[in-house]
Each structure stands twice: as C-alpha cells, then as structure tokens.
C-alpha cells in the first residue's frame, strides 16, 4: 500500500512542478492570493467602518486617513473595497461550489444511469444552456425580488450545465473502462462505483472547470449587481459600488476605476490559475 501511495504522491508532485514553470499560471495564483487575502481579514485591516457617512469629506482624494479616498457620501473607499470584495468573492465561491455540486451530481447521474434519465438531463442542459444567463437572472430576480440569497439561488439554478456536460462525458467513457466493468462484476453497487471510482477520476477536470468558472461567476455577479439585481446599497459590493460611482464619473473617475480593476484582477487571476492547472494536469496524461 505504501508503495502505491508514494507513487500517487509522485504523480501529484509533477503537475505542481509543471505548474510552477508556467509564468502566467504563477502570476494568476499570486494575483488571487495578493488581491483576495486582505479581503478575508477585512475586519482587522479596514481603517474605517464602511457604512459611516461623512458628507463634509465626500469625494476626498488619496490621503493618509483614507488611502483610497472617500466616495460620494464620504465613506472610506478602502474599507468599502475590503468589505465589498469580501462579499463579492464569498458570493462567487458559494455559487461556484453550488454549481459544481449540482453539475457533478447530474453529470454522474446521467452518465451512470443512462436511458430516460440521461435523456432528460441532456435535454435540460440543452434548454438551460440556450437561455442567456444574465437575461434570465435579471428577469427571475425581478420576479423574486432582489437580495443576495436569491442571486445565489438563480445563478446556481442556471450555471451548472457546463459541469454536467463535462462530467457526463467523462463518466460515460469511464463506464466502458475495464476496472469499472470488473467492479460491476464483483457486485459493487452503482453508488459505490460512482463514489469510489468515478468521482476520483473526474476531480481534475472538475477542479479546472470550477476554477475557470470563478472568473465567469464573479463577472456575472458583479454585472447583475451593477444592473441593480444583486447586492443592494448601502451594503458594499464591487459591482454595485461601480454602479454607484457612475454619477461621479466626471468628478471622481477613480471611484469607478478602483472596483473595476479589483474585479478584473480577481477574474484574471482565476482564469490564469485555472488554465495553468489545466495545462499542468493535461501534460501529465498527454
């Protein structure tokens, strides 16, 4: 057993080395760490309360008291960026995890069961994928009412088809493989085969897909917030902060630029990191 484990560790180490050799992948990982790390520590790092209005000092420039200046109501921009970013990133992670869960579950279900269930899932993928997600999210949130929990719900309901497609295809090809066949002959239940043999074999593509999805979901959430269908003011969130800053565009463009750059950097970091992971994983098999 120990020999097997050592071999697995060895295989695990090679993608890491390959990953470290890709400059863009490392840049992506660093971006994610550097930009998001302060967000988790927002309550310690933030110099000010993100809700405290200070009208006399509104639209102030960069200063020692307000490193990123103040917004249109005199609220400290850095604190709002930190708390807002924590909200944006946390929402993104929750939604991505939910999508991964739903997508993987449906993909394995369709791939393992086949027949009518498979056809239903494929049809559902077809329907959900053909609706532009921003438009349906907007309309659904208009119906349900705004709020972050509804935002999470709507995107999770609409976002899973890509995972399902990939996982279903992988499950179908795994099912034909010898070792799964032998498990079935030995009398292993479908659930056991799915959990013990299918899931471990699809972890890598799923991790890559979910990492790449982080960028997509962050953009989606901030777009919906920007349009007024996500987080509601005064709660800080990067997309709604940017929407808020629109009216100060000619006076204080930095209010727009700062959250915009932050969203861009996190999304770029996730995309670079995800592609780096994919290359590192794929090169091993190919």
């Amino acid at each position: 057993m120990s020999g097997g484990r050592r071999r697995r560790e060895h295989e695990g180490a090679r993608p890491l080395r390959r990953f470290l050799r890709e400059p863009t992948a490392v840049v992506g990982a660093l971006l994610l760490i550097v930009v998001t790390f302060p967000l988790y520590a927002a309550s310690w790092v933030a110099p000010d309360d993100p809700y405290v209005v200070d009208v006399p000092h509104r639209l102030a420039g960069f200063s020692r008291a307000h490193p990123l200046g103040t917004d249109g109501l005199g609220r400290d921009m850095l604190s709002r960026m930190l708390y807002g970013g924590r909200k944006s990133v946390l929402l993104t992670l929750v939604v991505t995890l939910l999508i991964t869960f739903v997508g993987v579950f449906l993909g394995i279900l369709a791939g393992m069961r086949g027949g009518i269930i498979d056809r239903l899932v494929v049809q559902l993928v077809d329907i959900v994928q053909s609706v532009p997600i921003v438009i349906v999210s907007m309309v659904t949130i208009a119906v349900l009412g705004a709020g972050t929990s509804k935002l999470i719900f709507v995107i999770a309901v609409l976002g899973w088809p890509r995972h399902t497609r990939v996982v279903r295809a992988a499950t179908l090809s795994l099912r034909e493989r010898q070792f799964i066949e032998s498990c079935r002959v030995l009398g292993a239940s479908r659930l056991r085969i799915a959990l013990r043999h299918v899931v471990p074999n699809i972890v890598r593509p799923v991790v890559v897909l979910s990492t790449l999805d982080v960028g997509r979901i962050l953009l989606l959430i901030s777009t919906l917030s920007f349009l007024g269908f996500g987080a509601r003011p005064p709660a800080p969130e990067w997309g709604s902060m940017l929407a808020d800053a629109r009216r100060y565009f000619f006076v204080a463009p930095r209010l727009l630029i700062i959250p915009g750059v932050a969203i861009f950097l996190v999304a770029l970091g996730a995309n670079l990191f995800g592609e780096g992971l994919r290359d590192a994983f794929e090169a091993r098999t190919g």
């Binding site: 890709e22 400059p23 863009t24 840049v27 049809q123 559902l124 077809d126 329907i127 994928q129 053909s130 609706v131 532009p132 997600i133 921003v134 438009i135 349906v136 907007m138 309309v139 659904t140 949130i141 208009a142 119906v143 349900l144 960028g215 953009l219 901030s222 777009t223 920007f226 349009l227 007024g228 269908f229 997309g239 940017l242 929407a243 629109r246 565009f249 000619f250 463009p253 727009l256 630029i257 959250p259 915009g260 750059v261 969203i263 861009f264 999304a267 770029l268 996730a270 995309n271 670079l272 592609e275």
Partner: protein, 317 residues
C-alpha cells in the same frame, strides 16, 4: 446522403422539446411575478379609490388568470406562435411591436462587434499559434484572458474615459453615426474575441500537426500561406460550435452596453421590463433571446456536416 437526411431530421426533432421547455420557462418566469389583476384593475381609477374584489375578479377572468397554469401557458403559446405576445403593462404597446422596433439597433451593434471580433481574434490566434519561445505566447495568453476577465461595464467606462473624455475622438453616449458605434461595439466584442481567439489558437496548433500541412510544407509553400490557405479553414470549424454561446454572450452584453452608451435596443428593453416587472415584455425578451440561440445552434449543427465532410454522420446515431 441518406445519413445526412436522417441526421437533419433527428436534430430538428431534438430542437422541439428544447423550444417547448424554453417557452414554458419564459412563460413561468413572467407569470410567477404574481397576479397583476389588482394592479391592472386600479389602473384607470384615482389612487385613493381601491378596486372592489368584483372588479379585480373581472380583470382576472378577462385575462384568464383564474385558469390553471397549463391552460394559461397553452393560450399564451398559441398566441405567441401567431406573433402576439400580449401588451406591455408599462407602455401598453404590443410586445411584438416593441421588440421589432428595438431589434435593428441591437443587430447593428452585434454585427459591428462580430466584425471587430473577427479582425482581432484571427491575428491574435495566428500569433499565439505561430510563435515559439518563452514570453510571446504567454503575453498573447495574457491579452486573451484579460479580454475574458474584464467586466463589460468597466471596460465601457475605461474606453469612454480615454477616447471620449480625454481624447475627444468619439461621442460619450448616443446613437448617431458610425463614430458613436465604435466604443459600444468594441466593449461588446471583448469577451467573444477572447473566447474565439483561444479556441482558434488551440485548434490551429492541432491542425498544423496534420499530414496535409506537412505536405504543403514539403511543397515549399510559405508559412503564412499554409496558415491562411490551408490550416485556418479547418481550424475555424470548432469555432462554429461555440457560435451559439457567442451569440448568447452578445445578447447579454447588449444589456450593459446599451445602458451605458444610452442606446436603444433589446438589452434596454430587457432592463426596463425587468426593472418594472412588466411581465409580458419579460416573457417576450426571454423567449426571443432563447429562441434565437436555439435556432442558431440548430442551423450550425445542420450546416456542420455540409461544411466539414469529415464528420461521419453514421457514427453519431
């Protein structure tokens, strides 16, 4: 040819349940916004007078909201198939008319974006696929992924700030002349360009390993001629399969772009109707967006075996 015919028919049949599902989704989304009868019944009355329950019931009955959901859906669908999507609660105009008026502006915007996408994505993919070495491919990748990572609303303001506010090259907002089209079209093109360039690049790299490319090399053809004359045509095929999702992202992007640049169009219509819970209009735009994407995907799937004779249709069934 018999295989092609059978494939076409089965593909057409597959689109039917998708279209039904889509229309049901559009309908349910709209009707879930609640029974608008009480709102409608009080429409003609002064604000201090509330409609009586009988009046509300009358409106409800007249609009068919007292019927079961499936009956309502069927009524809505048969009307929709005749081009009647009801009237906007906001403007009292026919939904179909409003969409017809908004469509040209959005199509114009989308086509301009597609033009920009082609002009940018092809060279990017060529550079990405051709260059060896340590840094240049990484830079191309960085540029492409940046296009996929920048939020449309942020890019729009960046472009406005640089090209309209600072350089005065184009108007800030509005819809007059080709100059006012440049920034919106570019904003909308960023994400599709990134997607297409990445896909085209990896498919070019694959194609360049094929035998016929080696033959072309052996004949002594110039490198660029091989790329443009031979490889590009085959490398472009996988791009066809993502055109449907590109179209979806253009429709989505139009919401943000039309809002920021003050353009009229489908995106604006969507935003207005969702902002005011105008349910017939919401049903209309969701249905339109979905149907366009489904039909587009269908067309691509049907054309694919004609364009790429290598697709063996027998194997698909």
């Amino acid at each position: 040819m018999r295989g092609t015919g059978r494939y076409a028919v089965s593909r057409l049949l597959l689109a039917v349940p998708t279209l039904f599902g889509l229309s049901f989704l559009s309908f349910v989304l709209g009707s879930a916004s609640g029974d608008p009868s009480s709102k409608l019944a009080s429409a003609g009355l002064p604000p201090e007078i509330l409609p009586t329950p009988e009046q509300i019931d009358a409106v409800r009955h007249r609009l068919g909201f007292d019927k079961p959901l499936l009956v309502q859906y069927w009524r809505w669908l048969t009307k929709a198939l005749h081009g009647d999507l009801g009237r906007s609660l906001l403007t009292h105009r026919g939904v179909t008319d409003a969409i017809r008026d908004a469509l040209p502006s959005t199509i114009e915007l989308a086509l301009s974006s597609v033009l920009i996408m082609v002009v940018l994505a092809v060279p990017l993919a060529l550079i990405g696929a051709r260059t060896r070495g340590r840094w240049l491919p990484q830079i191309v990748r960085l540029v492409e992924l940046s296009g996929a990572s920048i939020p449309g609303f942020f890019l729009a303001y960046l472009l406005i700030y640089v090209f309209a506010v600072k350089l005065h090259l184009v108007p800030v907002v509005g819809q007059s002349g080709w100059k006012s089209m440049v920034l919106p079209a570019f904003t909308l093109a960023a994400l599709p360009t990134a997607l297409v360039a990445r896909l085209l690049q990896s498919s070019l790299v694959e194609v360049m390993r094929e035998d016929y490319v080696r033959t072309a090399r052996g004949k002594g053809l110039a490198d660029l001629r091989i790329y443009l004359g031979h490889a590009m045509r085959n490398a472009a095929l996988p791009v066809l399969t993502v055109l449907g999702s590109i179209l979806a992202s253009l429709i989505e992007g139009a919401v943000v772009v039309e809002l920021i640049f003050g353009r009229s169009g489908i995106g604006n219509l969507t935003l207005e109707s969702a902002g005011s819970s105008d349910y017939p209009m919401m049903q209309g735009v969701v249905l339109l967006a979905g149907v366009v994407v489904v039909l587009f995907n269908l067309a691509v799937d049907l054309l694919y075996p004609i364009i790429d004779v290598r697709v063996r249709l027998g194997a698909r069934s």
